[in-house]
Subunit: 186 residues, 2 copies
Amino acid sequence: MSGTREKIIELGENLIRTKGYNAFSYQDISTELGIKNAAVHYYFPSKENLGTSIVKTNIQRFEEMTENMKSLGFDEWQQLDAFVKIYVKSHREQKLCIVGSLGPDYNTLSETTRAELVRMTDIILNWLTGLLTSGKAKQVFSFGEEPRVKANRIITNLMASLLLSRIIEKFDFKAVYQSVTEELRS
Amino acid sequence: MSGTREKIIELGENLIRTKGYNAFSYQDISTELGIKNAAVHYYFPSKENLGTSIVKTNIQRFEEMTENMKSLGFDEWQQLDAFVKIYVKSHREQKLCIVGSLGPDYNTLSETTRAELVRMTDIILNWLTGLLTSGKAKQVFSFGEEPRVKANRIITNLMASLLLSRIIEKFDFKAVYQSVTEELRS
DNA sequence: GTCTATATTCCGATAGAC
DNA sequence: GTCTATCGGAATATAGAC
Protein backbone atom coordinates (compact mmCIF):
# COMPACT_ATOMS: atom_id res chain seq x y z
CA MET A 1 0.00 0.00 0.00
CA SER A 2 2.03 2.97 -1.23
CA GLY A 3 -0.86 5.08 -2.44
CA THR A 4 0.76 5.47 -5.81
CA ARG A 5 -2.21 3.93 -7.56
CA GLU A 6 -4.51 6.48 -5.97
CA LYS A 7 -2.17 9.32 -6.86
CA ILE A 8 -2.10 8.18 -10.48
CA ILE A 9 -5.89 8.18 -10.64
CA GLU A 10 -6.05 11.63 -9.08
CA LEU A 11 -3.42 13.05 -11.43
CA GLY A 12 -5.04 11.41 -14.44
CA GLU A 13 -8.40 12.91 -13.53
CA ASN A 14 -6.90 16.36 -13.21
CA LEU A 15 -5.15 16.01 -16.56
CA ILE A 16 -8.37 14.93 -18.28
CA ARG A 17 -10.22 17.86 -16.78
CA THR A 18 -7.58 20.43 -17.72
CA LYS A 19 -5.92 19.17 -20.95
CA GLY A 20 -8.31 16.52 -22.20
CA TYR A 21 -8.00 12.75 -22.54
CA ASN A 22 -6.15 12.71 -25.85
CA ALA A 23 -3.67 15.40 -24.82
CA PHE A 24 -2.22 13.87 -21.68
CA SER A 25 0.38 11.12 -21.57
CA TYR A 26 1.82 8.65 -19.12
CA GLN A 27 4.87 10.90 -19.07
CA ASP A 28 2.79 13.74 -17.63
CA ILE A 29 1.85 11.49 -14.74
CA SER A 30 5.22 9.83 -14.17
CA THR A 31 7.10 13.13 -14.23
CA GLU A 32 4.76 14.64 -11.69
CA LEU A 33 5.11 11.63 -9.38
CA GLY A 34 8.88 11.44 -9.85
CA ILE A 35 8.71 7.93 -11.24
CA LYS A 36 9.17 6.44 -14.70
CA ASN A 37 6.67 5.87 -17.47
CA ALA A 38 6.94 2.09 -16.99
CA ALA A 39 5.93 2.33 -13.35
CA VAL A 40 2.58 3.82 -14.34
CA HIS A 41 2.04 0.91 -16.73
CA TYR A 42 2.54 -1.43 -13.76
CA TYR A 43 -0.63 -0.05 -12.18
CA PHE A 44 -2.57 0.61 -15.38
CA PRO A 45 -1.39 -1.55 -18.29
CA SER A 46 -3.13 0.63 -20.86
CA LYS A 47 -4.44 4.15 -21.08
CA GLU A 48 -7.97 2.90 -21.67
CA ASN A 49 -7.57 0.95 -18.45
CA LEU A 50 -6.63 4.12 -16.57
CA GLY A 51 -9.42 6.11 -18.19
CA THR A 52 -11.99 3.53 -17.18
CA SER A 53 -10.70 3.44 -13.60
CA ILE A 54 -10.90 7.22 -13.36
CA VAL A 55 -14.54 7.25 -14.40
CA LYS A 56 -15.34 4.37 -12.07
CA THR A 57 -13.76 6.27 -9.18
CA ASN A 58 -15.91 9.28 -9.99
CA ILE A 59 -19.06 7.19 -10.04
CA GLN A 60 -18.18 5.75 -6.66
CA ARG A 61 -17.51 9.22 -5.25
CA PHE A 62 -20.84 10.55 -6.53
CA GLU A 63 -22.77 7.58 -5.16
CA GLU A 64 -21.10 7.89 -1.79
CA MET A 65 -22.06 11.55 -1.65
CA THR A 66 -25.71 10.98 -2.53
CA GLU A 67 -26.05 7.99 -0.19
CA ASN A 68 -24.42 9.99 2.56
CA MET A 69 -26.84 12.86 2.08
CA LYS A 70 -29.72 10.41 2.16
CA SER A 71 -28.60 8.81 5.41
CA LEU A 72 -28.07 12.22 6.96
CA GLY A 73 -31.62 13.17 6.06
CA PHE A 74 -30.72 16.13 3.83
CA ASP A 75 -33.77 17.90 2.48
CA GLU A 76 -34.13 18.77 -1.23
CA TRP A 77 -32.56 22.19 -0.96
CA GLN A 78 -29.59 20.89 0.96
CA GLN A 79 -29.04 18.19 -1.64
CA LEU A 80 -29.31 20.63 -4.51
CA ASP A 81 -26.83 22.98 -2.84
CA ALA A 82 -24.36 20.14 -2.35
CA PHE A 83 -24.73 19.20 -6.02
CA VAL A 84 -24.20 22.74 -7.26
CA LYS A 85 -21.15 23.04 -5.01
CA ILE A 86 -19.42 20.33 -7.04
CA TYR A 87 -19.43 22.68 -10.01
CA VAL A 88 -18.53 25.73 -7.95
CA LYS A 89 -15.45 23.84 -6.75
CA SER A 90 -14.59 22.81 -10.31
CA HIS A 91 -14.88 26.41 -11.39
CA ARG A 92 -12.62 27.59 -8.60
CA GLU A 93 -10.02 25.03 -9.68
CA GLN A 94 -10.45 25.93 -13.34
CA LYS A 95 -11.45 22.40 -14.28
CA LEU A 96 -14.30 20.95 -16.28
CA CYS A 97 -16.38 18.10 -14.92
CA ILE A 98 -15.52 14.56 -16.04
CA VAL A 99 -18.54 14.25 -18.31
CA GLY A 100 -17.87 17.62 -19.93
CA SER A 101 -14.23 16.79 -20.62
CA LEU A 102 -14.58 13.17 -21.74
CA GLY A 103 -17.79 13.71 -23.71
CA PRO A 104 -16.21 15.44 -26.73
CA ASP A 105 -13.68 12.57 -26.94
CA TYR A 106 -16.42 9.94 -26.74
CA ASN A 107 -15.85 8.66 -30.28
CA THR A 108 -12.17 8.02 -29.53
CA LEU A 109 -12.68 6.15 -26.25
CA SER A 110 -12.61 2.38 -25.83
CA GLU A 111 -15.84 0.46 -25.38
CA THR A 112 -15.20 -0.10 -21.68
CA THR A 113 -14.45 3.57 -20.96
CA ARG A 114 -17.50 4.61 -22.96
CA ALA A 115 -19.68 2.24 -20.97
CA GLU A 116 -18.54 3.77 -17.67
CA LEU A 117 -19.03 7.29 -18.99
CA VAL A 118 -22.56 6.43 -20.07
CA ARG A 119 -23.20 4.87 -16.67
CA MET A 120 -21.90 7.93 -14.84
CA THR A 121 -23.98 10.34 -16.90
CA ASP A 122 -27.08 8.20 -16.41
CA ILE A 123 -26.57 8.04 -12.66
CA ILE A 124 -26.20 11.80 -12.32
CA LEU A 125 -29.16 12.62 -14.56
CA ASN A 126 -31.39 10.09 -12.82
CA TRP A 127 -30.41 11.33 -9.40
CA LEU A 128 -31.08 14.97 -10.29
CA THR A 129 -34.38 14.07 -11.94
CA GLY A 130 -35.41 12.21 -8.79
CA LEU A 131 -34.47 15.15 -6.61
CA LEU A 132 -36.49 17.56 -8.74
CA THR A 133 -39.46 15.20 -8.84
CA SER A 134 -39.45 14.89 -5.08
CA GLY A 135 -38.97 18.61 -4.52
CA LYS A 136 -41.77 19.48 -6.90
CA ALA A 137 -44.17 17.03 -5.25
CA LYS A 138 -43.45 18.56 -1.86
CA GLN A 139 -43.74 22.04 -3.38
CA VAL A 140 -40.31 23.08 -2.16
CA PHE A 141 -39.21 23.49 -5.79
CA SER A 142 -41.28 25.46 -8.25
CA PHE A 143 -41.00 24.84 -11.99
CA GLY A 144 -43.31 24.12 -14.88
CA GLU A 145 -41.49 21.59 -17.00
CA GLU A 146 -41.15 17.86 -16.65
CA PRO A 147 -38.54 17.06 -13.97
CA ARG A 148 -36.44 15.17 -16.54
CA VAL A 149 -36.32 18.19 -18.85
CA LYS A 150 -35.62 20.54 -15.96
CA ALA A 151 -32.77 18.28 -14.84
CA ASN A 152 -31.33 18.34 -18.34
CA ARG A 153 -31.50 22.09 -18.46
CA ILE A 154 -29.89 22.56 -15.06
CA ILE A 155 -27.01 20.18 -15.68
CA THR A 156 -26.27 21.61 -19.12
CA ASN A 157 -26.23 25.09 -17.56
CA LEU A 158 -23.64 23.98 -15.02
CA MET A 159 -21.49 21.85 -17.33
CA ALA A 160 -21.17 24.28 -20.19
CA SER A 161 -20.73 27.27 -17.87
CA LEU A 162 -17.48 25.66 -16.70
CA LEU A 163 -16.49 25.45 -20.36
CA LEU A 164 -17.37 29.06 -21.16
CA SER A 165 -15.56 30.22 -18.03
CA ARG A 166 -12.41 28.71 -19.47
CA ILE A 167 -12.78 30.62 -22.73
CA ILE A 168 -14.32 33.91 -21.61
CA GLU A 169 -12.36 35.53 -18.81
CA LYS A 170 -15.27 37.62 -17.59
CA PHE A 171 -17.89 34.90 -17.85
CA ASP A 172 -20.19 35.29 -14.86
CA PHE A 173 -20.36 31.73 -13.60
CA LYS A 174 -21.84 32.79 -10.29
CA ALA A 175 -24.74 34.57 -11.97
CA VAL A 176 -25.63 31.37 -13.80
CA TYR A 177 -25.72 29.02 -10.83
CA GLN A 178 -27.51 31.58 -8.69
CA SER A 179 -30.08 32.00 -11.43
CA VAL A 180 -30.50 28.23 -11.59
CA THR A 181 -31.31 27.92 -7.91
CA GLU A 182 -33.32 31.12 -7.47
CA GLU A 183 -35.57 30.08 -10.31
CA LEU A 184 -36.66 27.07 -8.26
CA ARG A 185 -37.99 29.17 -5.39
CA SER A 186 -41.73 29.70 -5.33
CA MET B 1 -8.72 27.34 -57.76
CA SER B 2 -9.08 23.65 -57.03
CA GLY B 3 -11.24 23.96 -53.96
CA THR B 4 -8.90 21.67 -52.06
CA ARG B 5 -8.24 24.32 -49.46
CA GLU B 6 -11.95 24.65 -48.75
CA LYS B 7 -12.37 20.88 -48.58
CA ILE B 8 -9.55 20.64 -46.04
CA ILE B 9 -11.20 23.25 -43.86
CA GLU B 10 -14.54 21.50 -44.07
CA LEU B 11 -13.03 18.09 -43.29
CA GLY B 12 -10.97 19.54 -40.45
CA GLU B 13 -14.04 21.13 -38.94
CA ASN B 14 -15.95 17.87 -39.08
CA LEU B 15 -13.06 16.00 -37.48
CA ILE B 16 -12.83 18.52 -34.64
CA ARG B 17 -16.54 18.26 -34.03
CA THR B 18 -16.60 14.46 -34.06
CA LYS B 19 -13.21 13.28 -32.75
CA GLY B 20 -11.74 16.40 -31.16
CA TYR B 21 -8.78 18.58 -32.05
CA ASN B 22 -6.08 16.45 -30.44
CA ALA B 23 -7.40 13.20 -31.90
CA PHE B 24 -7.40 14.04 -35.60
CA SER B 25 -4.35 14.07 -37.86
CA TYR B 26 -3.32 15.34 -41.26
CA GLN B 27 -3.53 11.71 -42.36
CA ASP B 28 -7.25 11.67 -41.60
CA ILE B 29 -7.71 14.57 -43.97
CA SER B 30 -5.32 13.47 -46.73
CA THR B 31 -6.72 9.94 -46.82
CA GLU B 32 -10.27 11.25 -47.12
CA LEU B 33 -9.27 13.58 -49.96
CA GLY B 34 -7.17 10.95 -51.70
CA ILE B 35 -4.01 13.05 -51.47
CA LYS B 36 -0.86 12.82 -49.37
CA ASN B 37 -0.08 14.21 -45.96
CA ALA B 38 2.44 16.64 -47.48
CA ALA B 39 -0.21 18.16 -49.73
CA VAL B 40 -2.22 19.25 -46.72
CA HIS B 41 0.88 20.91 -45.29
CA TYR B 42 1.12 22.92 -48.51
CA TYR B 43 -2.18 24.63 -47.71
CA PHE B 44 -1.78 24.73 -43.95
CA PRO B 45 1.89 24.59 -42.87
CA SER B 46 1.00 23.70 -39.29
CA LYS B 47 -1.94 22.22 -37.45
CA GLU B 48 -2.36 25.36 -35.39
CA ASN B 49 -2.62 27.21 -38.69
CA LEU B 50 -5.42 24.93 -39.83
CA GLY B 51 -7.20 25.14 -36.50
CA THR B 52 -7.12 28.92 -36.56
CA SER B 53 -8.47 29.01 -40.12
CA ILE B 54 -11.32 26.70 -39.20
CA VAL B 55 -12.42 28.95 -36.35
CA LYS B 56 -12.07 32.05 -38.54
CA THR B 57 -14.27 30.44 -41.19
CA ASN B 58 -16.90 29.72 -38.55
CA ILE B 59 -16.84 33.31 -37.33
CA GLN B 60 -17.31 34.53 -40.87
CA ARG B 61 -20.21 32.13 -41.42
CA PHE B 62 -21.93 33.26 -38.23
CA GLU B 63 -21.51 36.93 -39.02
CA GLU B 64 -22.82 36.46 -42.54
CA MET B 65 -25.88 34.75 -41.14
CA THR B 66 -26.66 37.44 -38.58
CA GLU B 67 -26.01 40.29 -41.03
CA ASN B 68 -28.20 38.57 -43.56
CA MET B 69 -31.05 38.24 -41.08
CA LYS B 70 -30.66 41.87 -40.20
CA SER B 71 -30.83 43.03 -43.80
CA LEU B 72 -33.84 40.82 -44.42
CA GLY B 73 -35.60 42.43 -41.47
CA PHE B 74 -36.04 39.24 -39.43
CA ASP B 75 -37.89 39.85 -36.19
CA GLU B 76 -36.61 38.56 -32.86
CA TRP B 77 -38.47 35.27 -33.03
CA GLN B 78 -37.26 34.54 -36.53
CA GLN B 79 -33.69 35.27 -35.50
CA LEU B 80 -33.94 33.06 -32.43
CA ASP B 81 -35.38 30.23 -34.50
CA ALA B 82 -32.55 30.49 -37.01
CA PHE B 83 -30.04 30.40 -34.16
CA VAL B 84 -31.58 27.34 -32.53
CA LYS B 85 -31.66 25.62 -35.92
CA ILE B 86 -27.85 25.66 -35.99
CA TYR B 87 -27.85 23.33 -33.01
CA VAL B 88 -30.72 21.22 -34.33
CA LYS B 89 -28.67 20.62 -37.47
CA SER B 90 -25.59 19.76 -35.42
CA HIS B 91 -27.64 17.30 -33.43
CA ARG B 92 -28.98 15.67 -36.58
CA GLU B 93 -25.41 15.25 -37.85
CA GLN B 94 -24.21 13.99 -34.45
CA LYS B 95 -21.69 16.77 -34.13
CA LEU B 96 -20.86 19.20 -31.36
CA CYS B 97 -20.55 22.92 -32.04
CA ILE B 98 -17.07 24.36 -32.57
CA VAL B 99 -16.97 26.08 -29.19
CA GLY B 100 -18.13 22.95 -27.40
CA SER B 101 -15.52 20.77 -29.07
CA LEU B 102 -12.51 23.12 -28.94
CA GLY B 103 -13.29 24.47 -25.48
CA PRO B 104 -12.10 21.42 -23.51
CA ASP B 105 -8.82 21.51 -25.49
CA TYR B 106 -8.35 25.23 -24.84
CA ASN B 107 -5.24 24.74 -22.69
CA THR B 108 -3.54 22.79 -25.49
CA LEU B 109 -4.28 25.25 -28.30
CA SER B 110 -1.83 27.82 -29.69
CA GLU B 111 -2.21 31.47 -28.78
CA THR B 112 -3.58 32.37 -32.19
CA THR B 113 -6.18 29.60 -32.20
CA ARG B 114 -7.20 30.52 -28.66
CA ALA B 115 -7.63 34.14 -29.66
CA GLU B 116 -10.01 33.20 -32.49
CA LEU B 117 -11.96 30.86 -30.23
CA VAL B 118 -12.35 33.63 -27.67
CA ARG B 119 -13.45 35.99 -30.42
CA MET B 120 -16.00 33.54 -31.78
CA THR B 121 -17.49 32.85 -28.35
CA ASP B 122 -17.67 36.57 -27.60
CA ILE B 123 -19.39 37.32 -30.88
CA ILE B 124 -22.05 34.66 -30.35
CA LEU B 125 -22.72 35.59 -26.72
CA ASN B 126 -22.91 39.28 -27.54
CA TRP B 127 -25.24 38.69 -30.45
CA LEU B 128 -27.58 36.52 -28.40
CA THR B 129 -27.53 38.98 -25.52
CA GLY B 130 -28.43 41.77 -27.93
CA LEU B 131 -31.28 39.74 -29.38
CA LEU B 132 -32.70 39.00 -25.94
CA THR B 133 -32.33 42.62 -24.85
CA SER B 134 -34.19 43.83 -27.92
CA GLY B 135 -36.88 41.16 -27.62
CA LYS B 136 -37.44 41.92 -23.97
CA ALA B 137 -37.70 45.66 -24.60
CA LYS B 138 -40.34 45.06 -27.27
CA GLN B 139 -42.06 42.55 -24.97
CA VAL B 140 -41.90 39.79 -27.56
CA PHE B 141 -39.69 37.77 -25.19
CA SER B 142 -40.64 37.26 -21.57
CA PHE B 143 -38.02 36.47 -18.94
CA GLY B 144 -36.98 37.80 -15.57
CA GLU B 145 -33.20 37.63 -15.57
CA GLU B 146 -30.64 39.98 -17.04
CA PRO B 147 -30.38 39.38 -20.81
CA ARG B 148 -26.70 38.47 -20.45
CA VAL B 149 -27.47 35.78 -17.89
CA LYS B 150 -30.40 34.50 -19.93
CA ALA B 151 -28.14 34.30 -22.99
CA ASN B 152 -25.61 32.32 -21.01
CA ARG B 153 -28.24 29.91 -19.81
CA ILE B 154 -29.71 29.38 -23.27
CA ILE B 155 -26.41 28.79 -25.01
CA THR B 156 -25.18 26.40 -22.31
CA ASN B 157 -28.45 24.47 -22.65
CA LEU B 158 -27.91 24.08 -26.38
CA MET B 159 -24.16 23.37 -26.32
CA ALA B 160 -24.15 20.77 -23.58
CA SER B 161 -27.32 19.11 -24.86
CA LEU B 162 -25.37 18.20 -28.00
CA LEU B 163 -22.75 16.67 -25.72
CA LEU B 164 -25.23 14.68 -23.65
CA SER B 165 -26.95 13.48 -26.82
CA ARG B 166 -23.66 11.89 -27.82
CA ILE B 167 -23.37 10.02 -24.53
CA ILE B 168 -26.99 9.21 -23.68
CA GLU B 169 -28.79 7.53 -26.56
CA LYS B 170 -32.25 8.49 -25.36
CA PHE B 171 -31.39 12.06 -24.41
CA ASP B 172 -34.35 14.20 -25.40
CA PHE B 173 -32.64 17.03 -27.25
CA LYS B 174 -35.88 18.23 -28.77
CA ALA B 175 -37.50 18.63 -25.36
CA VAL B 176 -34.66 20.90 -24.27
CA TYR B 177 -34.70 23.30 -27.19
CA GLN B 178 -38.49 23.43 -27.21
CA SER B 179 -38.42 24.23 -23.51
CA VAL B 180 -35.87 26.97 -24.17
CA THR B 181 -38.07 28.74 -26.70
CA GLU B 182 -41.45 28.13 -25.09
CA GLU B 183 -40.19 29.66 -21.88
CA LEU B 184 -39.68 32.96 -23.70
CA ARG B 185 -43.35 33.29 -24.68
CA SER B 186 -45.41 35.59 -22.55
C1' DG C 1 7.23 -1.60 -6.97
C1' DT C 2 10.22 0.70 -9.75
C1' DC C 3 13.82 0.66 -12.91
C1' DT C 4 16.47 0.56 -17.81
C1' DA C 5 16.04 -0.35 -22.30
C1' DT C 6 13.69 -0.90 -26.25
C1' DA C 7 10.03 -1.99 -29.82
C1' DT C 8 6.50 -0.04 -32.44
C1' DT C 9 3.67 3.13 -34.22
C1' DC C 10 2.15 7.48 -35.36
C1' DC C 11 2.36 12.35 -35.75
C1' DG C 12 3.75 16.95 -37.33
C1' DA C 13 6.73 18.83 -40.38
C1' DT C 14 10.36 19.72 -44.20
C1' DA C 15 13.23 19.11 -48.54
C1' DG C 16 13.22 18.58 -52.94
C1' DA C 17 11.51 16.13 -57.36
C1' DC C 18 7.84 16.32 -60.76
C1' DG D 1 -0.35 21.54 -56.53
C1' DT D 2 0.90 17.19 -55.40
C1' DC D 3 4.27 13.82 -54.91
C1' DT D 4 8.22 10.72 -52.54
C1' DA D 5 11.16 10.38 -48.97
C1' DT D 6 12.55 11.26 -44.65
C1' DC D 7 13.51 13.40 -40.04
C1' DG D 8 12.81 14.19 -35.23
C1' DG D 9 9.97 13.52 -31.63
C1' DA D 10 6.58 11.66 -28.74
C1' DA D 11 3.35 8.23 -27.31
C1' DT D 12 1.80 3.57 -25.94
C1' DA D 13 3.45 -0.42 -24.48
C1' DT D 14 6.49 -4.61 -23.19
C1' DA D 15 10.57 -7.43 -21.47
C1' DG D 16 13.37 -8.24 -18.10
C1' DA D 17 16.78 -6.61 -14.35
C1' DC D 18 16.92 -4.99 -9.54
